[in-house]
């Protein structure tokens, strides 16, 4: 199973790339079963030390839940707290 993660803003800077790939051998691997598990894989790879409690997540360009089951080929974005339109 292969998931592409796209990064924006603070995450893009911290990771040092605007996209990266996560793969597991087994389709049923618990490692990438949902965005919560995928986030743990991102943390494990980069050691970000970020608490994602205030983050949202999008799967295939739609806002999703952290427990949404992921499928092979899905594209995921972790969304830091937004800050458009001034403050």
């Amino acid at each position: 199973m292969k998931i592409v993660v796209h990064h924006f803003a603070v995450l893009r800077e911290r990771v040092g790339a605007d996209a990266e790939t996560y793969e597991t051998d087994s389709v049923a691997s618990p490692g990438l079963s949902d965005p919560a598990a995928l986030w743990r894989a991102v943390e494990a790879r980069h050691g970000l030390g970020i608490d994602p409690a205030s983050f949202a997540v999008a799967v295939n360009d739609g806002v999703s839940g952290w427990d949404h089951p992921l499928s092979d080929g899905d594209e995921v974005v972790f969304l830091p707290p937004v800050s458009g339109g001034g403050r």
């Binding site: 796209h6 924006f8 803003a9 603070v10 995450l11 893009r12 800077e13 911290r14 980069h46 050691g47 970000l48 030390g49 970020i50 608490d51 999008a58 360009d61 739609g62 806002v63 974005v77 969304l79 830091p80 707290p81 937004v82 800050s83 458009g84 339109g85 001034g86 403050r87």
Partner: protein, 162 residues
Amino acid sequence: MTDSVHFALSGQAIDPSVLQVAVRDPHCGGFASFEGWVRDHQDGRRVAFLEYEAYPALCAKEGTRILREAVERFGIRRASAVHRTGRLEIGEVAVWIGVSSAHRREALRACEWIIDEIKASLPVWKKETFADGAHEWVRCERCAQGHAHHEHARDGAHHHAP
């Protein structure tokens, strides 16, 4: 008739006079707009410039949803919003919203509702750079704390790798 709502991101300067043409409508007697400008200070610090970064595909969906919902909620005729991306200097227009309706009251109310929704849910991120050279992603200060930890951890990994 053209679509009643229009949302866009723009990497170029926003020209309100051009955008206003798109919400003109002979049925409408009221027009309200809001412009968010880049301010030269924040929390007592002097701001040098801003950068906005957007998630384009989700912005298109969310922006259009917000404007369509405003049409439904307030019974307005047309609504348009444009948000800047990239580097903005002090005084530049960061966001422009324009609403037209038969009467003024719903246009004014819809305009305020739209900017509140944009600030709450449009996937756009603002990075402030201050006059002293410091910079931070707004509303992600805790991520910045993690940044210091990360740099340390990465350096350590380089030094101690077998």
